[in-house]
Symmetry: C2
Subunit: 271 residues, 2 copies
Amino acid sequence: MASPPEAGRLSLNTATVRAQWSLAQAINGCARHGIRGVAPWRDKLAEMGLKRAAAAIRAHGLTVTGLCRGGFFTAEGWRDDNLRAIEEAHELGARCLVLVAGGLPPGSRDLGLSREAIREGIAAILPEARKAGVPLAIEPLHPMQAADRACINTLEQALDLCDLFGEGIGVAVDVYHVWWDPKLAQQIERAGKDRILAYHICDWLVPTRDTLNDRGMMGDGVIDLPRIRSWVEAAGYAGFHEVEIFSERDWWRRDPDEVLRTARERHARCC
Amino acid sequence: MASPPEAGRLSLNTATVRAQWSLAQAINGCARHGIRGVAPWRDKLAEMGLKRAAAAIRAHGLTVTGLCRGGFFTAEGWRDDNLRAIEEAHELGARCLVLVAGGLPPGSRDLGLSREAIREGIAAILPEARKAGVPLAIEPLHPMQAADRACINTLEQALDLCDLFGEGIGVAVDVYHVWWDPKLAQQIERAGKDRILAYHICDWLVPTRDTLNDRGMMGDGVIDLPRIRSWVEAAGYAGFHEVEIFSERDWWRRDPDEVLRTARERHARCC
C-alpha cells in the first residue's frame, strides 16, 4: 500500500480501537498501517506493562504523541495518580501528558471550587513534570462534559491557566471539544507554537446521540478540519495529527484494521 | 394553597408541558397554579389562534415573558417568519422575542458564514422590531447545539453582537445553555439590567442522555441556580424566572398539573 504524503503525521490515539485491541495489538496495528505516532491510555498501558510497551514502541520507532491521561484533580488520590502518570510518560518518551482536569465531585454544584482545585493540583504536580521533562497538556473539554469530566471548557480558559504557570505546560487542541468556539482562531494564535502540545482530530456528528461516545470519523461530520488545521499550522504547530474517536455505536464495532485504514484515508483526504 | 413569596416571579415556558397541553390549557394551568408569567411557542400559538391566545392571557392578567421563537437566520424563509414573529410578539405584549439564531445549513461546515448570516439577519429585522416595540433577545445556546440549532454559543458572543446594534436588542440568559461558562459572571455583569431580557431556569442532569430533550427540573441537577440568580440580580435584573424544561423521558410524561406544582415548589426552594 503506497503511503499518502500525509501519513507520516498521523498518530493513533488508542481509544479509537479500545473496544477491539490491546495496546500491544494497537502498536502492531500502527506499524502495519504505516502510522508513525501512538497515544496510549493508561489502563491499557497497565495491562501490557510499562517496560514491555516502551520496548514495543521503540522497536517500531513510533512517536508517543501523548499519554492519556493525568488530571482529574477533583477526585480522591489525584496526587499519586498524577505522579505515576508523569513517570509513565517519561518512560515512554511521550511528547506530553494529557490532563483531563476533572469535573464536579459527587454532590457538588460549585464549579468555582472545582476550578480552584484544578489550579492547585496543577501547581502541585508541575514541578515534578518539569523535572521529568514531561510537558503537561491541559485539554479543554466540551462544555457538555463540564459536570462529569472537566470544567476546563475553552481554550481561552486553559491558556489563562497556562499563563499562571509559565514553562512546562500547554494545551491539547482536540477539534471535537473546541470546534464550536467563536474565539477558536484567536485563542489558537494566542497559544502559539510552544503551547500547542497536541492536536487531536475526529468529527462532530449531527445528530450526536451520546455526550461522550458518539464521535465521528473525519469527514463524517460538520467540523471544518482543514480550516482548524490551517490555524494550528499558522500558529507554528508542526506535530502529529492524533485521531481519537470514542464511538460506541460505530467504530468500536468494526474490524480495527478497517478503522485504521479509514483513518489513514480520511486523514489524507479530509483533514 | 398558600403562595410562596417567590411564586409571583415564576413564569411557565409552555415547552415544559408541550407534550401534554395545548396553549389554552397551559394558560389555564398557570392561572390555576398562581403562576403569573407565560412564554408561548409559536406552533401552539398558531393552533390556538393569536387573537384568542392574547385575549386569554389578558383575561388572566398574565405577563408574556417571551415569545419563542424567532431567529433561524440560516434557514429558508427567515425574513418573513421573523417579521410574523415580531407582529405576534407585539400583539401578545411580549417582553421579548427570543431569537434562536440558527446553525449550519445542510452540507455546510462553515460556522463563520452562518454567524455572518445571523448578523445580517438581525440587522434586517431589528428596525421592524424597534417599530413594533418588541425587544429582541438573542439566546446563546449550549455548544452541543451549535450545528443544529444555534451557532451563537456564549453570552460573550451574543453581547458582542448586541454591541454592534445598540438599542432594542439584548439577551436571554438560560442557565441550561450557559451554566458551564467560566466567563458567565463577568458577562452577566457586562450585559447589565437593560440587556438581560429574560432569565430561563431548569437543571443540567448527570448523566445527560440527549443533547436536546433531557433537561432536568430545578434541584435535580448540578446547576448552582442561587448563584447564577445572584449574578443576574446583581446586574439589575428584576424580571421573571421562566421555567423551560424539554424532557422527553420524564416531565413530558407526567401529569402537567404535577409538573406545575413541582416547578412552583422547586422554584421557591432551589432557585
